[in-house]
Amino acid sequence: MASGQERILKRRIRSIDATKKITRAMELIAASRIVRAQARVRAARPYSDKVTAVIANLASAGGEADHPLLREPAEVTKVAYVAIAADRGLCGGYNNNVLRATERAIAADAAEGRDYELVLSGRKALGYFRFRNYRIAAGFEGFSDQPSYADAQQVAAAATELFENGCQRVMLAYTQFHSMGNQSVAIVPFMPLEVGDFDEADGAEDSGGGPEGGYEFEPEPAVILERLLPRYAEARLYSALLEASASEHAARQRAMKAATDNAEELKINLTRIMNRARQDAITTEIMEIVGGAEALAQTGGEVDLLSDTIEARTADLFRARE
């Protein structure tokens, strides 16, 4: 019995309802993944703390080798950027924020006559820079949801290769995860590694400082440092990947919550419009029947019979509501 407009509205409401169910499910999934991602960030911390502490101890014991990863460049002509974004969209401004910040940093470098190289992590990052015709040195995808240490090793290897071949500096662009409601894009220096960082980290370490007698080394400090520094770079990249992944899930949860809320509001509005349309149709029909009855009554017809008809018809119409 529904009129044409009513039918169309009903179909739209049904479609919005289906969409709402999807966005709601995505919201819940993202929410549960944030918790897991946060746990992974926490689980990765002891290793990077310990690696940092060991390097600090090596450095203080005079193991400060002239390692390429520690060499401050005299002049910077080329900067490599490691940009970490997501594999999927539907997470609000998460991808765009970090990618645009990277692009701006590259433009700022270009203004000062410095060239760039790009190492990208995440399908969206690849799409973004490919579309804009940037030169991409290396791209990785498929792990932004749950990065593993092996993934971090791959990305770190690509960054190290650029650093050893022409780039004097490597910057890391990713989204830092401060809390559930607070994430921010950061572009931080990644290579060369700064020994100053290690001294500070040593102060924060709870082991109560180095031992009195100094360390024994096996093999000599320089060799250990040479093996340890790449690990340190990997651990830092790994923690950046994990934080980015936690931020991604947080951003997705927020975006999907907004989408679910919007769908709900849209549904309420459309239901209201649909009800009004049906009410109008019913009113019009009753008016027509009453009008017809009036006309018949004036000519002296059977009014009783007609009022029965009207009642039956009205009941029909209201039943059509359900």
Binding site: A44, Y47, A152, S207, Y215, E218, Y238
Partner: protein, 127 residues
């Protein structure tokens, strides 16, 4: 003494041990209580921890060890206890690595892969 075994992804072991035996690039080394401060780079090999509830044997794929203030910290990229080792996968790795080594006997990666597979099989077999 306190022993911490830490991989990049998690803390694998944390507890009191009476003795730790591991292998640095220069050879096997054992730590007892109050060992002198020490930093070493670890080779591929077995590590044994004398924990309160028995000896834990692990296969370690390189890493580092630091000893200070009666705390032994082992950092490793990959450390597996016997029950976590997939022997079939290790066996397959071993054959692949031996084949690579047969083709090029200077291939360091293949040599490391052979050592790593053999260590895993040995640890799994000892349990």
């Amino acid at each position: 003494m306190q022993v911490e075994l830490v991989s990049p992804e998690a803390v694998l072991f944390s507890g009191e041990c009476s003795q730790v035996v591991t292998r640095t690039v220069d050879g096997d080394i054992a730590f007892l209580d109050h060992h002198a401060a020490f930093i070493g780079a670890l080779d591929i090999g077995q590590t044994q921890l004398w924990a309160s509830d028995g000896i834990v044997t692990l296969a370690l794929n390189r890493g580092f060890v630091e000893v200070s203030n009666n705390v032994v910290t082992i950092l490793s990229d990959a450390a597996y206890a016997a029950d976590e080792i997939d022997v079939a996968a290790a066996q397959a790795d071993l054959e692949a690595a031996r084949a690579a080594l047969a083709a090029d006997d200077d291939d360091d990666d293949a040599k490391a892969a052979v050592a790593w597979a053999e260590t895993r099989i040995a640890v799994a077999g000892a349990a």
